[in-house]
Amino acid sequence: MPFIPHTPEDEKQMLDAIGVDSIEQLFDEIPANLRNDKLEVVPTHASEMEISRLMHQRSEQDGQPLCFLGAGAYEHHIPSAVWQLTTRGEFYTAYTPYQAEASQGSLQVVYEFQTMMANLNALDVSNASLYDGASALAEAVLMAVRANRKSKSKIIYMPRTVHPHYRKTVEAIVTNQGITLELLDYDRSTGVIDPDSLPEAPGDFAALVIPQPNFFGVLEEVDTLTDWAHEHKALVIGVVNPIALAILKPPGEWGTDGADIACGEGQPLGIPLASGGPYYGFMCCKQAIVRQMPGRIIGRTVDLDGKPGFTLTLQAREQHIRRSKATSNICTNQGLMVTASTIHMALLGAEGLERVALNSHANNRKLIEKLTALDGVDEVFSHPVFHESVIKLSAPLSDIMRALHAENLLPGYSLQEDYPELENCLLVCATETRTEEDIDTYVDHLQRILGKA
C-alpha cells in the first residue's frame, strides 16, 4: 500500500513543469563538499516486518528498570486518556497552522496551552513551545540580550547550578553571537548560589539565569537573586520545572518585580521518557518584551461577523516576514507534545498538579531518609529540595552504579563528571510514581552492595 501520495507519473509531471530531469537535479545548487550522499550505516530500505523486529529488539535493550534517575527528564504518571486523545487524526500534524480558517481546533489547543503556561509561571504571555528545555534557555538568553534596553552588554551570568547539558547547549548556540557566559559558583554546603557571594559591582550585564529547582534539586533564593539582577539593570531568566510550579512561587512573582522570562522543559507534563525525545521547551515573558520573544504565538480575536476565533499573532517578529532580523528561526512548534501536555494539565487540573508535586516531594524525603540511614550514605546539601537530592557514597560510585544497574535499577545521575568537586556524589530522584516498596528495594540493594564494598 503506497503511503507516499505522489506516483511516478505525478513526479514526472512536476519535474517537467519545473524543467528538470530528476529530483536529484533540484539539489544541484548545494556544493558537493557540503553533501554527504553516502549514508553507509543507514540501509537503503527494510521491510515492515524487519523494521518492527529491529525496533522490538532495541526497545528490549531499555528493559523496564526501576527509575530513580531524573536530572532533567522525569517519570510521572500519564493518564491513558492523554495519548488516546492526542493521537486522534485531527491533532496529528506537527506543522504550523498558518491557515487559521482551516485550523481552529489546533489553534485553540495551543491557545489553551499558552494560557496554562502563563498561569503556571505567573507571566503575561507564553509562546506555542520550542524544541526542548536546553534550546529554550539558549533562546531566552538571546532574547534577553535583545530585550534589555538599559544595557548593551552581551554578558550573561550563568550559575553552575544550571543543568550542565543546558549550559553546553546555550554555549553552542550563543557564543558565535558574541555573548559571554560568566559562571556563578554555588555554596558547597547549601547547594545554592549564596546571595552574599554575588559581586557587589558586577559591571554591565544583560541577564541573570536562575534555575528553580536547580540541577541538584535544591531551591535557590530566587527573591534575593531577582532583586540583585534588577538593581543592576539586568533581566532575569528563570529555568523552571513546570510540575514544581504547582507548589513553588512562580517566576512572575520572584522578588519585587518578578522574573522577566521563564523557560524550561515541558516533558514532565504528560510526555513519556524517551531517549532523544521528542520533548519540548516552553517560554513565557512579561508583556513589555513580547516582541522579542521567539516562536509562534496564538491569539484570540473576532472574525468579520464578530465571532470569536484563534489565529497566529505578532508574526512580524518571525522569519517568514523579518528574515535575518527575526527573533529566531523557530517555526514548527512541537505541536503534538504540546497537545499532550494541554490535555494532561486539563485532566489533572490545578489540584491534581499540586498533588503530583507534593507526593513527589514527600517521596523524595522518604527516599533520602531511608538512604541516609545507611552507613556510608550522606545527604550533601542542606537547603530544601523539590524531588531530587544529592547523596554522597563512601565507596567508588561507578562500581556501585554498575551493581545497581545489574539489579535492573537506575540509581540516579553521577555528578562527578560534570562537577569534579562532587566525587562519588549521586543525584537521586523520586516522583509520585515511586512506592514505599520501590524505595525499600533501592535501599535494600544499596545496603547489601555497600556492605560488600
Binding site: 534596553r149 538599559k150 516582541r291 512580524a316 517578529r317 516576514i321 523579518r322
Partner: protein, 131 residues
C-alpha cells in the same frame, strides 16, 4: 505622489530629518514609507541617552504587513524617543512629518546633514524605485 516637505532632509532608507533651532535633529519615516508599510501596530522607539552611529538600526516600525528597522541618519546621541507612539502608533500613518516623529538626536557633527538628500533628490529616488 506622497508629500515631501522641502525644508527636510532625507535618507535612502526613507527617514526624514529636521534640523531644529537648538541644534538637535528630529527623525521620522516619510509619508511614502508609511504608505508602503501600511497600518502601524507598534513602534519601538530608542531609549534616551543612547549613543548611535549613522546607519545603525535604532528603532522598529511594525505594521500589519511587516516590521522594518529605522536607521539613525547621523552619528550622535539619541536624546528622546517619541513615547506617544507606544499608545498611538497610528500617528506615524496620520501625521508622519509631525506628531508621528520617532526620535530626537544630538548630532556629533551637524555638517553630516549635508550628506543627506534634499526633497528633490528624494522625490527622484522614489520615482526611480517605482520603475
Amino acid at each position: 505622489m506622497s508629500e515631501i516637505p522641502v525644508e527636510l532632509k532625507y535618507t535612502k532608507s526613507h527617514e526624514w530629518v529636521r534640523h531644529e533651532d537648538d541644534g538637535s535633529v528630529v527623525v521620522g519615516i516619510t509619508a511614502h514609507a508609511q504608505d508602503l508599510l501600511g497600518d502601524m501596530v507598534y513602534v519601538e522607539v530608542p531609549e534616551p541617552e543612547t549613543k548611535a552611529s549613522a546607519e545603525e538600526a535604532v528603532a522598529v516600525v511594525e505594521s500589519v504587513k511587516a516590521a522594518s528597522d529605522v536607521y539613525c541618519p547621523v552619528n550622535g546621541e539619541i536624546t528622546e524617543g517619541n513615547e506617544a507612539l507606544a499608545d498611538a502608533p497610528e500617528l506615524v500613518n496620520n501625521d508622519p512629518f509631525g506628531e508621528g516623529w520617532i526620535m530626537r538626536i544630538k548630532p556629533d557633527d551637524v555638517s553630516e546633514l549635508e550628506q543627506l538628500m534634499d526633497a528633490d533628490s528624494y522625490a527622484a529616488m522614489i520615482a526611480e524605485e517605482a520603475h
